[in-house]
């Protein structure tokens, strides 16, 4: 079977992007009225909502921790988010990504500020086109900031992949399916901390260093837009506080 050409002769990718270029993206904060905090993100064709509830009473109560809040995270893909209908229940992959996103967020949140309580994070993938875990993490971090949960820094994430022997930033679905390696990275840029790092496939040491450099560059762009989205959301706040 003939393999798709993912890198053209001029070095650009199948969708016309440069190897170190992100897909077009959009972020919005405070999009859901009923949640304590919420955010929406589009990365290419990927569309994700994140919502935060809490801190609230921990349920079941035996799970409550006397010294800190517990964080619960649910990453879920809508039935209609993929081209073939997905069963509505939680799959093994969704359980794994819920755990990965929760652990990434736990490393920046000051959960000890709210002992005996619970914070819930819901990441709902409306349309999936690769990079859902990193986009979900980016949106969840915005939703937590919107909810006013104390945190050390915002978190942004992006994946770097190896496609046709070249490293490329922010894989699309087609690239994701045919890549030789996939490296999702989540960072808290201001405090220079890596909160999520996974690798599928193989990279040499040099490739890994280069991939991390590309990821950092992409994350810094996303981080700037996260800050702008929050500034838009709270544009009128200065007047209130005075």
């Amino acid at each position: 079977m003939e393999r798709a050409v993912l890198i053209r002769e001029d070095g650009t990718r199948v969708d016309g992007r440069r190897p170190d270029e992100l897909r077009p993206f959009r972020m919005e904060v405070g999009v859901l009225e009923n949640a304590d905090g919420s955010a929406y993100i589009e990365m290419g064709k990927t569309k994700i909502y994140a919502a935060v509830y809490g801190p609230k009473e921990a349920h079941p109560r035996h799970m409550a921790q006397p010294h800190r809040a517990i964080l619960q995270c649910r990453y879920h893909m809508a039935t209609f988010s993929v081209s073939e209908r997905k069963a509505p229940g939680m799959t093994r992959r969704e359980h794994e990504l819920s755990k990965v996103i929760r652990e990434a967020l736990e490393s920046v949140l000051f959960l000890e500020e709210y002992p005996r309580s619970m914070i819930e994070v819901f990441v709902e993938v409306i349309q999936a086109d690769a990079g859902t875990r990193t986009a979900g993490l980016t949106a969840a971090s915005l939703a937590l900031a919107d909810a006013g949960i104390p945190m050390a820094d915002l978190v942004a994430g992006v994946a770097v992949g190896k496609v046709a022997g070249r490293l490329v930033l922010d894989l699309s679905e087609e690239e994701d399916k045919n890549c030789e390696a996939d490296l999702p990275v989540g960072m808290a840029p201001s405090i220079n901390s890596i909160v999520l790092l996974q690798l599928n496939g193989r990279l040499t040491k040099d490739e890994f260093s280069e991939a991390m450099r590309m990821a950092r560059k992409g994350i810094e762009v996303l981080y700037d837009h996260q800050k702008k989205a929050l500034q838009r959301r709270f544009a009128a706040y200065g007047e209130v506080a005075e």
Partner: protein, 225 residues
């Protein structure tokens, strides 16, 4: 010594505020010798401390805060009060409950009191003269970050609402506000005014808008009568 932001600057989580770590106040933390903001909010210098006032967020109990709690459980020597946001306050009973005797306080009672202690051991509430049981009226819930809007400038908005609606407001910093008035109509009118303050805190001439809303609501009542 470097101060990286000014008073009333809008800041985001992770943003550096100052490199004098002894200045770290509320909603800040120290990382790498630099004080940074932990929330989205506005910088305020209070005494020697640099703190951040959150733009949104849950209630964080502090000593001497006036709060409203709802009794959720009665133990032999204390009551458990729900303060919202998953916070349970402990109010010691003046006298231990005697077996077989009815307690003076019942589940669902609303208590207006102050916080005696808030820390790792939990939240202890003040009893005695500081605690006041509210037996009438009803409670509205607003965002705790909007409560200061009601009590700022010598409680200007609170007094306006009380004067125009003839209701008494018990304002808990935890976002619970008890409204006690001569009639349900008055109480509902006061609740609408409070909700207006919560949803439109930046409105120009908010005090006049609140007065207008209450006068319209209560004037209609007079006309109907």
């Amino acid at each position: 010594m470097t101060v990286l932001v000014n008073d009333k600057d809008f800041v985001l989580p992770g943003q550096p505020l100052t490199d004098e770590k002894e200045k770290a106040g509320r909603f800040t933390y120290v990382h790498g010798g630099v004080v940074r903001s932990a929330v989205v909010g506005m910088v305020r210098t209070k005494g020697q401390k640099t703190e951040v006032i959150p733009a949104r967020g849950p209630y964080k109990p502090r000593e001497n805060d006036r709060v409203i709690g709802i009794v959720v459980d009665i133990k032999p020597s204390y009551y458990e009060l729900d303060l919202g946001w998953g916070i349970t306050g402990i109010l010691r009973a003046r006298r231990a409950k005697k077996p077989g005797k009815e307690s003076q306080v019942t589940v669902g009672d609303v208590i207006f009191t102050s916080i005696a202690f808030a820390g790792v051991k939990g939240v202890m509430l003040k009893g005695g003269k500081d605690a006041h049981r509210i037996t009438r009226g009803f409670i509205v819930t607003i965002s705790p970050t909007r409560v200061p809007r009601l009590i700022v400038r010598n409680r200007e908005l609170q007094e306006t609402i009380e004067r125009e609606s003839h209701c008494k407001l018990y304002i808990g910093l935890n976002g619970y506000i008890a409204i006690v008035g001569p009639s349900t109509r008055n109480e509902f009118a006061a609740a609408s005014a409070i909700k207006l303050v919560e949803t439109e805190p930046t409105l120009d001439g908010l005090k006049e808008k609140v007065m207008g809303l209450l006068r319209r609501a209560l004037w209609e009542e007079m006309v109907e009568e």
